[in-house]
């Protein structure tokens, strides 16, 4: 079933691409089908004991396979991912106008994200998890940059991509360490690990989760990601993708339970994010950005609770995950509808919407109240559980987590109040509102109602949440969500939170410039810019365009690479000379070559080259290679003649050269020469066998019918090579002819240039 569902997603994706833009809003209908099927399938798993698995070998012998296991937590996340996905697809059909260009691309990418996300929540092997993790980053990048004509959108997309994929790299490193110390890549088989390696892995995994879940200081990509169309914000950046980090913390916390750094690190990330996100939400004027910053804050709360690791805290965290997905998706959809129907999201411009958009207002009020933790809504018991969890802790932990939860909740109530007042209250003249679109209203009404329905059937919700929390932490088994706790301490604290938050919210509702300014995206962007500029500068420095310097660099590198050969030389394999004549001729060849290089006139250089050729021919004779000597003599004669003819028109003297560059060249060429000698000597010191002289002689005389073995090799044994050699010479001849033909070619060349400049 798992494979079938993944395939259904993929097929729908391809179908959307094939249909193209002419299908219009129909693409969302296609996309909704696999989401709906997946939701129904996962819903049947909720609360049950059944945990379907699927596996496919990828690389044998590397323990690399695609492994899925849908446990209670996976089933809950699937219902959230696919269920909200279904709502978002329906909503998108209303959000976009029929003729919007790029609508198919958008639908396909959104569904591709949905596929990646279900793959992520189903993954059992950490490698499978990593692959889908990265896929969500990539699809998120494409969706944020959907309106790619705007430079700001492109910058936001790039920022989101770079931050989340650097988190992905950290995750990969962490997973490698975990797999190494745990001895398995399966999450379901993984026991707790400890030690230094595990600590490093825990830090890496927590950082990866923080980038994905937009925790301070990695949060800067999330507000920028609001450049995406609102269905994307509702889906990826509130309900699902940002929860991937939370899911990772949940899945990893049993593994890192014994690592002492895990809890403080998570509480630090989460605690700072709770405050910073809420402060950010209090100072925004764009309703969508208020929600985005609120998401940072809420995710911080969840990560704090998950890292604490007590049974009650884990239970509270999973409850908040569920409640948050429902109310935050609904709120984003509300903002999207307001944006479409009024043309603005700025709370300073919106006015009187509670009267003109009553249904939307009702949904917003219910969802916002759920976010603030007000009964009788799903957010209330979840927040109660969090407060109870704090009361259950002790010592410094209770103090720190308590401050985070309580102060965070107060601020949450405050920005929720500000959001509701800002968007819906009457503030001067009422904003004009366009006609309602059923496709948009229906899903947000459903999600809004869910917050209420969830509270009414709270026992059912407990039955779903409890196994999921128990999968993360065995001690969560004993807790349940309570509709009406009575006048307990926790309830009194909750009431206090709401009261204080309301006051703060009403006070700051209209004045927001006074709140502190969070560190921002600009710092990240200048970092990215600095890297890009540095790269360009380095490229400019390294790739300077001077051919001689390139050649010298390569020669020096090759020479240095030959250093290890020094230790492979056996001096016994070397002897002075084969004959004294060889030594004399070798000296002569090198001396003539040096002279040819130093001489200032071109003619002198050509003569020098001829001299070297003669000396080399002599060396051939001394070595016992008369054929080579003859060929060399002929070749050398033609080359010298060619040199004189070819360059006869040039100035007689070579242009002068700078001293420094000359010294560098001498050093590099000396290094290269020594390196070649060293490599050759090393090869002579390590012979791999005797030359097959007998065999060649026998074959040459008997089969080839010739006594000159060199000739027989060329014409019989390597006849095809020799044919190739002749072809090369032919090609060279044709090429030379084309190059040196004077008149025609020269008159054609300027004409060609003229065409190019046109």
């Amino acid at each position: 079933m798992i494979w079938a569902l993944l395939c259904a997603h993929a097929v729908a994706c391809i179908a959307i691409v094939a249909l193209g833009d002419r299908a219009g809003r129909g693409v969302f209908g296609v996309a909704a089908v696999p989401a709906a099927i997946t939701t129904v399938w996962a819903a049947t798993l909720l609360g049950g004991d059944e945990a379907p698995t699927a596996q496919r070998q990828w690389v044998e012998g590397l323990d690399l396979s695609f492994t899925f296991a849908v446990g209670p937590l996976g089933a809950l996340m699937t219902v959230i991912v696919s269920g909200i996905g279904f709502c978002v697809f329906v909503y998108s059909a209303g959000y976009f106008s029929a003729g919007t260009p790029g609508i198919a691309r958008f639908g396909a990418t959104l569904l591709a994200f949905s596929t990646a996300m279900v793959g992520l929540v189903w993954a059992d092997s950490i490698w499978t998890l990593f692959i889908f993790w990265e896929l969500t980053s990539i699809t998120s990048f494409l969706l944020v940059g959907h309106k790619s004509t705007s430079a700001a959108n492109r910058a936001a997309a790039r920022r989101a991509l770079l931050i989340t994929v650097s988190g992905g790299l950290a995750l990969l490193a962490g997973f490698v360490l975990v797999a190494d110390s745990a001895g398995t890549a399966r999450l379901s088989e993984m026991g707790a690990v400890d030690g230094t390696t595990a600590t490093v892995a825990a830090v890496l995994v927590m950082c990866a989760a923080a980038t994905k879940s937009a925790q301070v200081p990695f949060h800067v990509w999330l507000p920028g990601a609001m450049a995406a169309p609102t269905p994307v914000s509702a889906y990826l950046h509130s309900a699902t993708m940002v929860k991937a980090g939370v899911l990772l913390v949940a899945l990893a916390s049993p593994v890192f339970a014994d690592v002492s750094a895990w809890t403080p690190l998570g509480v630090a990330f989460g605690g700072v994010s709770v405050m910073w996100g809420a402060i950010g939400a209090l100072r925004q004027h764009d309703a969508k950005l208020i929600l985005a910053w609120g998401t940072i804050s809420q995710l911080g709360l969840i990560i704090t609770l998950l890292s604490v690791g007590s049974g009650k805290a884990t239970f509270a965290a999973i409850s908040i995950v569920t409640a948050h997905a429902i109310f935050k998706a609904a709120l984003f959809m509300v903002v999207g509808e307001i944006d479409i129907r009024t043309g603005t999201r700025d709370i300073r411009e919106l006015s009187g919407l509670h009267r003109t958009m009553p249904l939307t207002f009702a949904v917003a009020a219910v969802s916002a109240a759920s976010m603030a933790g007000v009964p009788p809504l799903l957010g209330f018991p979840a927040k109660e559980a969090a407060v109870e969890a704090v009361l259950g802790l002790s010592g410094a932990e209770q103090w720190s987590v308590g401050v985070i939860v309580i102060a965070g909740s107060v601020l949450t109530v405050a920005y929720t109040t500000r959001f509701l007042l800002g968007v819906f209250a009457t503030n001067g003249e009422a904003t004009e509102v366009a006609a309602q679109r059923t496709a948009m209203t229906a899903p947000l009404a459903v999600l809004g109602a869910l917050s209420l329905v969830g509270f009414i059937f709270l026992d059912q919700v407990t039955k779903i949440v409890k196994p999921a929390a128990t999968q993360v932490n065995k001690k969560s088994d004993v807790y349940k969500l309570i509709q009406w706790p009575g006048l307990t301490d926790a309830f009194m604290i909750s009431a206090g939170i709401v009261a204080v938050g309301l006051v703060v919210g009403v006070v700051v509702a209209r004045r927001s410039g006074s709140t502190p300014r969070p560190l921002g995206a600009r710092a990240v962007d200048s970092l990215i810019d600095a890297v890009l500029i540095g790269a360009t500068r380095l490229t400019g420095r390294v790739q300077h365009g001077s051919l001689p310097v390139y050649v010298a660099t390569m020669a020096a590198t090759a020479a240095l690479a030959a250093t290890p050969f020094l230790w492979a030389i056996d001096t016994d394999a070397l002897y002075k000379w084969d004959s004294p004549a060889q030594a004399v001729l070798a000296g002569l060849a090198v001396a003539t070559a040096i002279t040819a290089a130093r001489v200032g006139s071109r003619l002198g250089a050509a003569v020098g080259l001829g001299g070297v050729g003669l000396a080399v021919s002599g060396l051939f004779v001394a070595h016992g290679a008369p054929d080579l000597a003859l060929t060399q003599l002929l070749v050398e004669t033609v080359v010298v003649v060619g040199f004189v003819i070819g360059l006869g028109h040039l100035a007689r003297q070579f242009p002068p050269v700078g001293d420094l560059w000359r010294t560098v060249r001498i050093v590099v060429s000396a290094m290269a020469g020594i390196a070649v000698a060293v490599a050759l000597a090393a090869s002579a010191s390590n012979p791999t066998g005797q030359p097959p002289l007998e065999a060649i002689a026998q074959e040459g005389v008997e089969d080839g019918g010739g006594n000159n073995l060199v000739n027989v090799i060329l014409t019989d044994i390597r006849a095809l090579d020799t044919l190739g050699e002749v072809v090369v010479l032919l090609v060279v001849a044709v090429g030379i002819l084309a190059l040196v033909r004077p008149q025609k070619a020269d008159s054609a060349a300027p004409a060609l240039d003229a065409e190019v400049t046109l």
């Binding site: 365009g545 002897y575 290089a597 060399q632 060199v710 090579d721």
Partner: protein, 138 residues
């Protein structure tokens, strides 16, 4: 292996590399030619010690030099001959077009080196008006 031959290979390689790092195309041609010599001598040296010419009717197979590297070297000589002549033709062509035979810096590479200034400009334009939600007050 004969040190004298090694010396010849090493010296010719050095001078060859020295010449091909020059700016003048005719010197580069010279350098290639010398590198060709060095390569052929290296092949011979690697093939074994000197000996009689490998003629089956004039010398015993034990006392003759290894014929295989000689056959390979013949091919190498001919190919480097072709290469040298082709380079000479290129140098001549360069002379006809520009009046000298100097190797100029690559234009495309220089364009990349100048990208820096261009990019600096455009990036600054961009960061001034982005939607990060933090410019709300300004």
């Amino acid at each position: 292996m004969s040190v004298a031959l090694l010396f010849a290979v090493s010296g010719l390689t050095s001078v060859g590399i020295y010449l091909i790092t020059a700016r003048s195309l005719s010197r580069i041609v010279l350098g290639f030619s010398l590198l060709g010599h060095a390569a052929v001598l290296a092949l011979l040296a690697a093939g074994g010690p000197a000996g009689d010419a490998p003629l089956a009717d004039h010398a015993s197979i034990e006392s003759s030099a290894n014929p295989l590297p000689q056959a390979l070297s013949l091919t190498a000589i001919v190919i480097s001959f072709g290469l040298t002549l082709f380079l000479l033709a290129l140098a001549r062509r360069q002379h006809v077009l520009t009046g000298d035979d100097l190797v100029e810096d690559d234009i495309e590479d220089q364009r990349i080196a100048h990208l820096e200034e261009v990019e600096l400009g455009s990036e600054h334009d961009l960061s001034d008006k982005e939607l990060d939600g933090e410019d709300a007050d300004s």
